[in-house]
């Protein structure tokens, strides 16, 4: 049975434990700016909303990728970025209409939620149950496109992106 992240903003207190856990497990640092799940803060209403990739059926990011660097994990259903194949062209970042693929200056590639291989740390870290990892009802299963179910392609020779001075909002310079 495939599982998915269930996000319930009404339970979120804005404690950012999920962001800390995500950045630490995936990037090796406690730095919310590097988290793949993001808690949005609606100051004026005192509300919070955790938000990340829904592993959507349409997989806009995956289809837009010119080099097959985003693939479906057959076990989890997650759309995963293959670091060794991604060239950092950023087309997936504009193709995902939910804004949940981000370009990372550090790696010169993109990062997105991969469900931590089936054991998402954000869900484990959330103290209030605003993020839970739950079974998908079986009607959701037929959605995966047959042609996307190929194995992980082997990388050709891939070198690190060139170092450069990048200017953007948000990320540390």
């Amino acid at each position: 049975m495939l599982r998915a992240l269930q996000l319930e903003p009404e339970k979120c207190t804005g404690c950012l434990q999920c962001e800390m856990a995500c950045s630490f497990e995936n990037e090796g640092v406690f730095n919310p700016a590097k988290s793949r799940i993001k808690v949005f803060n609606f100051h004026d209403q005192g509300r919070f909303a955790p938000y990340t990739c829904t592993q959507c059926d349409e997989a806009w990011c995956m289809h837009a990728c010119p080099v097959e660097a985003i693939v479906v994990n057959q076990d989890t259903g997650a759309k995963e970025v293959l670091d060794s194949v991604c060239v950092g062209c950023k087309v997936c970042t504009i193709a995902c209409p939910f804004g949940t693929v981000n370009y990372s200056h550090d790696s010169g590639k993109v990062i997105k939620c991969d469900l931590c291989g089936g054991d998402p740390w954000c869900a484990k870290a959330c103290p209030t149950g605003a993020i839970t990892y739950v079974d998908i009802d079986s009607t959701g299963l037929g959605r995966m496109r047959a042609w996307a179910q190929q194995g992980v392609p082997s990388a050709a020779s891939f070198n690190a992106p060139m170092e450069k001075d990048v200017q953007t909002y948000g990320q540390a310079q």
Binding site: A4, Q6, L7, E8, E10, K38, F40, A49, Y51, T54, Q55, D57, W60, H63, A64, P66, V67, E68, V85, V87, G88, C89, K90, V91, C92, I94, A95, C96, P97, F98, G99, T100, V101, N102, Y103, V134, I136, D137, G140, R145, A146, W147, Q150, G151, P153, S154, A155, A156, S157, F158, N159, P161, M162, D165, V166, Q167, T168, Y169, G170, Q171
Partner: protein, 423 residues
């Protein structure tokens, strides 16, 4: 059912994969004329800087992919299509019969009408074959002139600058990427390039490419009177759809192959997809050639479905969108970035830090956007535009702070806690 797809770029490849998914029994042939496995032009800039090798440009990395799908891949050039007999002719003299045909022949870089443009050392940067030549000649100490600072020109600019060659960019319009960004943003990209050692001549036209004197074989003469001694010249002055082989087919061709909402051409059973197709634009509802990768893929999926299942799946229109990385300055533009009649806009500009966001509204909906330096959650601009979500009070908030896009989207859609699989 015999399906033939002409053109082995992203549109053609995605189409054959979907044809197979929808028609497990049918016979599927993919015909492409380039002497390479199907590859992605978009990956060329990364090949130029040696971040990937040629195999890294291939659309499908698994060599047995098409065999496993039962798709026959032919390397051949299609020279004519007979829509009545439902056959096509190949350059070698053979012919092939189809029940359904997809034209996905893409576009080619135009050669500008400049005296001397046929000289040795003048290249386009459109195919892997072009890229091999450029890699050979773009070396430290060489002088390279890039004619055209449109989207494709700017995409290869970074790779050319990274080669260590002295780079001069010549653009006839008053700014860089004139069809993607406004004066402010295009001007900032120019300044950024100049700060990074690239010489940029805007509002300048190349009059001729002459033989050089001295040790540089070429001399690029501009209408400003300036002349640049060059080892290599690259032209990136626009593209045109590859429709020549359809001249006698009776299939309607305008800017590209004319299609309806189902990507069906004027001939029954013949469809078109990708750069060659004059497809529906999401914003205007009109038909134009967008010539971008995401649109090619979208066309490929929809055309394949209609080829197998009949014309039931209408194309809602593709959002025209681009993202560009110019020497580390990342820009993007979406849909009606230039604004619409009777619309209004919001802008934040911080030229000192090369940051810029411009949002275009119609009533209380977002209809277009352009940005510099915005990479986090940038795709939500597409979401806001394509979902046509009413911004309600968020329009005012966005006008005060256009960077609060994600909050606006989350607050205004039911996306709060909504997951694709669970509610």
């Amino acid at each position: 059912m015999r399906h033939i797809v002409i053109g082995a770029g992203p549109a053609g490849v995605v189409a054959v994969e979907h044809l197979r998914a929808f028609d497990p029994e049918g016979q599927i042939t993919l015909i492409g004329d380039e002497p390479e496995p199907p590859y992605s032009r978009m990956a060329i800039p990364y090949y130029l800087i040696n971040q990937i090798d040629e195999r890294g440009t291939h659309l499908r990395k698994d060599a047995g992919h098409f065999d496993a799908l039962g798709v026959e891949v032919l390397q051949a050039r299609v020279t004519a299509v007979d829509t009545a007999a439902k056959t096509l002719s190949l350059a070698a003299g053979d012919s092939a019969a189809f029940d359904k045909l997809l034209i996905a022949t893409g576009s080619s870089a135009l050669t500008p009408m400049i005296p001397g443009v046929e000289s040795d050392g003048v290249y386009r940067c459109w195919t892997l074959a072009d890229a091999r030549n450029i890699v050979r000649l773009a070396q430290p100490g060489k002088s390279v002139v890039l004619i055209g600072a449109g989207f494709i020109g700017c995409i290869i600019l970074e790779a050319l600058a990274a080669s260590g060659a002295d780079l001069t960019v010549v653009e006839v319009e008053n700014r860089m990427v004139p069809r993607m960004l406004n004066d402010t943003a295009g001007g900032l990209i120019k300044k950024w390039c100049e700060d990074h050692g690239v010489k940029v001549l805007t509002s300048t036209k190349v009059e001729s490419i002459d033989q050089g004197s001295g040790d540089r074989p070429l001399n690029v003469v501009c209408d400003s009177g300036e002349a640049i001694a060059a080892d290599m010249v690259i032209t990136a002055t626009g593209v045109s759809a590859n429709t020549g082989f359809l001249n006698d087919s009776g299939i309607d061709v305008d800017q590209g192959v004319v299609v309806d909402d189902y990507l069906n051409t004027s001939a029954d059973d013949v469809y078109a997809a990708g750069d060659v197709a004059q497809g529906k634009d999401f914003s205007t509802g009109g038909f134009n050639v967008q010539a971008i990768q995401p649109t090619a893929v979208e066309h490929g999926r929809i055309a394949a479905r209609n080829m197998v299942q009949g014309n039931h799946h209408a194309h809602r229109g593709s959002v025209n969108m681009n993202v560009l990385d110019t020497l580390g300055l990342i820009s993007s533009s979406f849909a009606m970035w230039m604004g619409v009649d009777g619309g209004d806009s919001a802008e934040v500009s911080d030229p000192g830090r090369f940051r810029y966001v411009n949002l275009q509204f119609q009533d209380d909906r977002l209809v277009g956007a352009s940005t510099l330096g915005l990479t986090d959650h940038v795709g939500v601009l597409r979401g806001l535009i394509e979902s046509k979500v009413r911004l309600d009070g968020w329009k005012e908030k966005l006008k005060q702070d256009p960077t609060r896009l994600m909050e606006a989207y989350i607050a205004r859609t039911q996306a709060l806690g909504h997951n694709a699989y669970v509610r």
